[in-house]
Symmetry: C3
Subunit: 346 residues, 3 copies
């Protein structure tokens, strides 16, 4: 795919300085760009690179003043970062634009497939599945009985969705992620063995959710495990049965949420965090990486850290003293010696 | 699937109060049940919901006394929770009842497949594999050369089992789990590079084991990585080469066990726990979530917590003081000041 | 596969004591070996087993002196461990030797496949993919548009490689691992929602890298996430966008590296370690399991531990005092009492 400076200026509604016919075929950061690349300058910290970059085209802010001449063709716009982001998105859409049904696939005759859908080879679609319009279902995806998938949703290769789960519109799920596997529920018996508790609920994923690769969301025992609208989950996350994650909450990689816990809206959870079961986390909570949350957080909008998690500032203060513990012990011993000496000298 | 109150009363051997012809088609918790649902009441805490629920049928304990009339049809049994659990299981078995071999599949001519087996489309079964009766092998499963699988075992979509591994009877393995990948063994060389140590052992999974989604169990360098009878492993767990996990031990999500470690029987390991290699964990040990166990636990039946893991009660006491560390330091400083003043005033 | 003692002695260039015609068909540790097994003795600690083992053949060091007669046929070599390792490798190569293209597969007509390649059934190879000679691509592998794979590389079942990624020579990637999924990048909006930032970079994996099962390496936002030559990654690891991991660095299972962080060469990272984004880790750093690294490590070759990570020795000293915190508090209270009594007695 090749574009001229003129075409790009039109696309971003910008004004052009330099050669309108120069062609680009890739996007790159200004400090790494080679000839044939389109780049952008937004952060003034990087302005130096404008005079050394090999980029054929650079998108810059309207009001940028040049210290010396530049080799690249410039396109001036109101907000260079936004314009470039928009081009990234256009580029990605073109790269990933696929439609049609490849062969072989397994599609149960009762499944209903919408318009303008891509279904990759070796994908399996079971009984009574509904896939709405403009979905992209990549190769090796498994979609169990009675699953419903809304418009414009993308499932990348190797995603598995167990029966009865519901996925909204504009959802993106990356490779290897499992939706609707059995919750971890076992009843201990007198002889030390465990009986499996059947997990007959489902998973509901609302609109505009994105889920990373190799994440697992277990189905509810009864009822639903629910991922609310706009939630963003990273890779390798564990979401246990009957969990609910509130609107626009973001969770980083390798975190785990135990059964029946409810996380509020607009919370931010760092990587490798563990949250115990049957508690609630208030809206807007910010939980630092590697924290272990072991009780309900009722106050919204607070920052937490550590395992067990404590208010961030208190945790930081304890942490600082922790690093001085050997010194603290020594000072305590000195006081003890001092007092002992006094006692003895009496 | 629809059932009448009469049919269900017969199934659970209960006595019926109300309309024997009312039909249900789903199972639900009493506080969430809609018309057409079957529910149950076991915990007295939820008794209030009996008078407001829209459930068409509620299973209750034999001796329940009604405070006022109820709309739902009641089925009285000795133990409402057990009766409902049994119905859950029956329901799930009916939902997941599949047999036959779909198309296309890859089955090597030397593989032996038992009676009444389900093999989903796009599943791959290599040379000399044996799959016994009543197994369910979902789509996209990979079963390598010479793998043996016992009766009544279920492999959900996308499970991979490398060559020579052995899986027992009534085992359940969820999507994306990998059995028998190479252990992480490398010999450091003088030039800073590493030579791979070939991993030629296997994995043995005994009867009645359940393994969650996207878990990994590495094959032994030589000999076997062994998961003993009745073990339950959650999602995203790491089991390294030559590990042995004892009978009826339960391990929660995202925990990792390093190479050659032996975990005893009836242990309970929380989520995100790390256990170093080449140690043993005594029978019945209880290891709290996010613990890091770095040495052998010889005493059976004890509770451990923290990283490095320590006896639970000691850990809790240290934790409490940790949260007061800034105060402790301040008190120490006050004492120092006090003594300094005294010294000076002498 | 069966081999005689004579054949093996020839293979390892050893001298034979005992029956040259005895046959073996498996490899085993000396303390577990049955008749028909080949074993080795290298560590003097295991010498006792030489007199009780049922192994048909044992490879021993040239200078081993026997205390009493042995039943096994012995093969004497310069270095028993090296000779046995070499046999392991030969055995494994023979076990895993596959070539040819199975059916059905999906191979785009523009893809170029080298000589002597194995491609398993149900594997998907998209437009403009290049796979060089002697590669083994197992079943259920997904290789996206324009991916390049060097000679002698093995992708185990269910690996997914997104478009534009580049994989070197002699690379091994285990089942379920995802290469090139989108980095976790979202721009917060004023209404609390997030806009996805398109991730148009790729992943570059250099020669001689091995990656475990169910690991995830995200593509760069722009540019490349880079795994340098000789790196060894274990299972269930998270590598975020734009990370770079230096030559011959080894990372154990379930560790996570956040966006844009650069890890140096010959570093060793334990299991369940978390490393924050946008920092550097010096060459040769050794990071203990479960550490949390939250700032740049500039000094090379040092050992780190804890969360937040601190120099290993300091961390160990603080840890020891931590376990005595309740005692420390009690001693502090005693001093306070003592001083209070004194004050009052004045």
């Amino acid at each position: 795919m090749q574009f001229s400076a003129h075409q790009i200026a039109t696309l971003v509604n910008g004004s052009l300085e330099g050669n309108p016919d120069v062609m680009v075929e890739q996007l790159a950061k200004i400090e790494e760009a080679k000839a044939g690349s389109l780049s952008f300058l937004s952060n003034p910290k990087y302005e130096q690179y404008l005079y050394t970059t090999e980029a054929s085209i650079v998108i810059v802010n309207h009001d940028l003043k040049l210290d010396k001449p530049v080799v690249s063709t410039l396109i001036r716009v109101k907000n260079a970062y936004s314009a470039f982001s928009m081009l990234l998105e256009v580029y990605n859409k073109m790269r990933l634009d696929k439609t049609g049904i490849e062969n072989p696939v397994f599609i149960h005759p009762t499944a209903r497939i919408g318009k303008n859908v891509y279904i990759g080879a070796f994908t399996y679609i079971d009984k009574d599945v509904v896939i709405q319009d403009n979905c992209k279902i990549y190769p090796h995806v498994y979609i169990g009985e009675n699953v419903k998938i809304g418009n414009d949703t993308t499932l990348f290769p190797g995603v598995s969705v167990y029966f009865d789960c519901v996925i909204g519109e504009r959802v993106i799920i990356h490779s290897g992620t499992v939706i609707g596997s059995d919750g971890f529920g076992f009843a201990p018996q007198d002889d030390g063995t465990y009986n499996k508790i059947s997990q007959i609920g489902n998973v509901i994923i609302e609109n505009d959710v994105e889920i990373g690769a190799n994440t697992v969301i277990d189905r509810a025992t009864m009822g639903s495990t629910v991922i609310r609208q706009g939630v963003k989950l990273d890779n390798l996350i564990q979401v246990a049965h009957n969990v609910e994650i509130g609107k626009n909450t973001v969770i980083a990689a390798q975190s785990g949420i135990s059964g029946s816990t409810k996380i509020g809206e607009n919370a931010v959870v760092g990587g490798q965090v563990g949250i115990v079961g049957h508690i609630s986390i208030a809206n807007g909570s910010q939980i630092q990486a590697q924290s272990g949350v072991n009780r309900t957080i009722a106050d919204s909008g607070k920052k937490w850290s550590g395992s067990p998690a404590a208010p961030y500032n208190a945790q930081m203060r304890s942490q600082v003293v922790y690093s001085r513990l050997p010194e603290l012990e020594r000072r305590l011993e000195e006081l003890e010696q001092l007092l002992l000496t006094k006692e003895l000298s009496k």
